[in-house]
């Protein structure tokens, strides 16, 4: 049932900024940095969501997901591959036996501007082809018009269509304007049955920021206190450096705690982050700053 959205906490941007500045000032060096970076790799949803995607590109990305780097030792696999529905079966086949999940965007990604029947079909088709996770977008237009019940019902219906697949709900925070709206949308998504809430499609700027992620983590915490249910978090879009990834992990640890510090409850939606982390790890190993020329592009 749609929760009461009138008594939600109100976010003061200056306060949020100050809290975030503290997360960013934590000093994480040497061995803890290495462990943090490896943890970050294990949380990546390695993503390709472009009109120009091909079978070959998806297959290559799947290979990269299974073998991020051939020389570095103890590098974990990424958590999942995130693709358009048309590539689900190809990715599924390429990743067979690896334990890496296939996530598919659905519901007329990225705009979500289609009839509900089309969105349901989109979702079912992805799930039938074997997607382990479905990344849906909410109807931002309806949300901004105040039609919260519509948004809630839509998410709940899609959740049903997912079957066994996990549902990640993309709020597209870049279009929600205020932190209070982000909080409101998070509540709606969680009560409607989301397994994960996700910041962005990556197609709208600004995409993931520490600010909106903080608000969403805060919502997850309150939801856990009220219901005892743990919801996952996925910031996506624009997280391309190791330094920023570590800042997200610090925030995750300090807001939600250790129980959330694994791929079941936290993901990075990213494409170039993996190479940046690998470059950092090779730098830590060899002492030499690295060049992207020596790392596979996809």
């Amino acid at each position: 049932m749609l929760p009461n959205l009138n008594n939600l906490p109100v976010y003061d941007t200056t306060g949020v900024d100050e809290r975030i500045a503290r997360f960013c000032s934590r000093s994480i060096k040497s061995s803890s940095k290495k462990e943090g970076l490896k943890l970050a790799i294990s949380m990546i949803d390695l993503t390709t969501l472009e009109g120009k995607d091909t079978r070959g590109k998806v297959q290559q990305l799947c290979y990269k997901a299974m073998h991020p780097h051939d020389l570095l030792r103890d590098i974990p696999k990424v958590a999942a591959i995130c693709v358009y529905p048309s590539f689900v079966s190809i990715a599924k086949k390429a990743l067979e036996g690896s334990g890496i999940h296939v996530a598919s965007v659905a519901t007329a990604f990225p705009s979500g501007q289609s009839a509900l029947e089309v969105k349901l079909l989109d979702t079912k088709s992805a799930a039938d082809q074997g997607a382990d996770e479905i990344d849906m977008v909410i109807s931002r237009g309806e949300f901004l018009a105040g039609n919260y019940q519509y948004v809630f019902d839509e998410i709940a219906t899609i959740k049903e269509a997912c079957g066994k697949a996990h549902l990640k709900v993309i709020l597209e925070t870049g279009e929600l304007d205020t932190l209070d709206n982000v909080r409101k949308a998070s509540e709606i998504a969680m009560y409607a049955g989301a397994d994960f809430i996700k910041t962005s499609t990556g197609k709208v700027q600004p995409a993931a920021t520490l600010q909106v992620t903080y608000v969403m983590l805060d919502a997850i915490k309150d939801f856990f206190i009220k219901t005892g249910k743990m919801i996952g978090m996925k910031p996506a879009g624009g997280i391309s450096t190791s330094k920023i990834a570590l800042q997200y992990l610090v925030m995750l640890n300090e807001v939600l705690g250790e129980k959330w510090m694994n791929k079941n409850f936290f993901r990075f939606g990213a494409s170039s982050l993996l190479n940046d982390i690998l470059m950092q790890l090779v730098k830590a190993e060899t002492g030499m700053y690295q060049s992207s020329n020596y790392f596979s592009k996809d």
Binding site: G287, M288, Y289, Q290, S291, S292, N293, Y294
Partner: protein
């Protein structure tokens, strides 16, 4: 009424901006009478790392700038330097030069820029070749910039030495990261101000100040740097730079005990030091 001195804050020059070092550190530069001349940013390896990103980002566009345009930009630097002669002379004097020597050095520096500006559309003809081969191919080699160049400047003739290294490297289409003379860094940062007002795109020339001992290994080992130029006589450092450079087969260039007035230091062959040849086999007669 007497006025308080308004002294310049000497900062770094990275990607067309003047940041302070991320480390917050500085070192004091003193003259021969042990008086403080200025406090100078002590750049860290992280400043260097950030600089490589800026230099890499600027490189392709700069290499693709037409020869005519590159020449104009170099000539523009000379013009701007001409207009600020007095400042550079004063700084050289503050760093211990005589007034006469300072004047001579600034003049020669300006002339050297004009010299390399002139070469911008000519060195290609000198170094590119058409090669005879005994197969059905038209075989030719042309020159391209190596890419991003680290430069560790020497301790003598701080302005002329710097220009004699930067000008040939950038006229060849490279972008450069310079570690200025440790004992005489003032003119390097003032040169950055000149560059910044001379149509040199941000990131093409980047200038750091700091300690060689701390930075040379990173300048020589960074995998995204394509060439390193070292001016100095330290044998151990020279050997160490060569070893680090071997990891990604960086081009190494060494200048020992150098007098920058020497005419050998005004030559298209200095441009060639940071160029590489690309040879193409083009099938013919088919």
């Amino acid at each position: 009424m007497s006025r308080l001195d308004i002294n310049k804050t000497y900062k770094l020059y990275i990607g067309g901006k003047f940041p302070r070092t991320e480390s917050g550190r500085y070192y004091a530069v003193k003259n021969s009478k042990d008086n403080l001349v200025a406090n100078i940013c002590l750049a860290s390896r992280k400043d260097f790392r950030n600089t490589v990103v800026a230099a890499r980002k600027a490189q392709t566009a700069w290499a693709n700038t037409t020869a005519l345009n590159k020449g104009q930009v170099l000539y523009r630097i000379a013009e701007m330097l001409e207009g600020r002669k007095e400042q550079f002379i004063a700084e050289l004097i503050a760093q211990g030069e005589s007034a006469k020597a300072a004047q001579k050095e600034v003049n020669r520096s300006i002339d050297r820029l004009v010299y390399y500006a002139g070469w911008s559309d000519k060195y290609q003809q000198l170094f590119s070749t058409v090669n005879p081969v005994s197969s059905q191919h038209f075989n030719f080699s042309n020159v391209e910039p190596v890419g991003v160049v680290s430069i560790i400047a020497g301790e003598n003739q701080s302005l002329l030495g710097l220009i004699s290294l930067i000008a040939p490297a950038i006229v060849g289409g490279n972008t450069v990261i310079v570690l200025a003379s440790e004992s005489k860094p003032l003119t390097a940062i003032s040169l950055a101000e000149v560059l910044n007002s001379s149509d040199v795109p941000g990131g093409v020339v980047n200038i750091l100040t700091g300690k060689k001992d701390e930075l040379f290994s990173h300048m020589a080992s960074h995998m995204d740097v394509n060439s390193i130029i070292y001016c100095g006589d330290d044998e151990k450092m020279t050997k160490s730079i060569s070893e680090f450079a071997s990891n990604n087969i960086k081009r190494t260039v060494f200048f020992k005990k150098n007098d920058w007035y020497n005419e050998q230091n005004e030559s298209p062959y200095i441009i060639e030091k940071t160029l590489e040849l690309k040879t193409t086999w083009h099938p013919t007669g088919i």
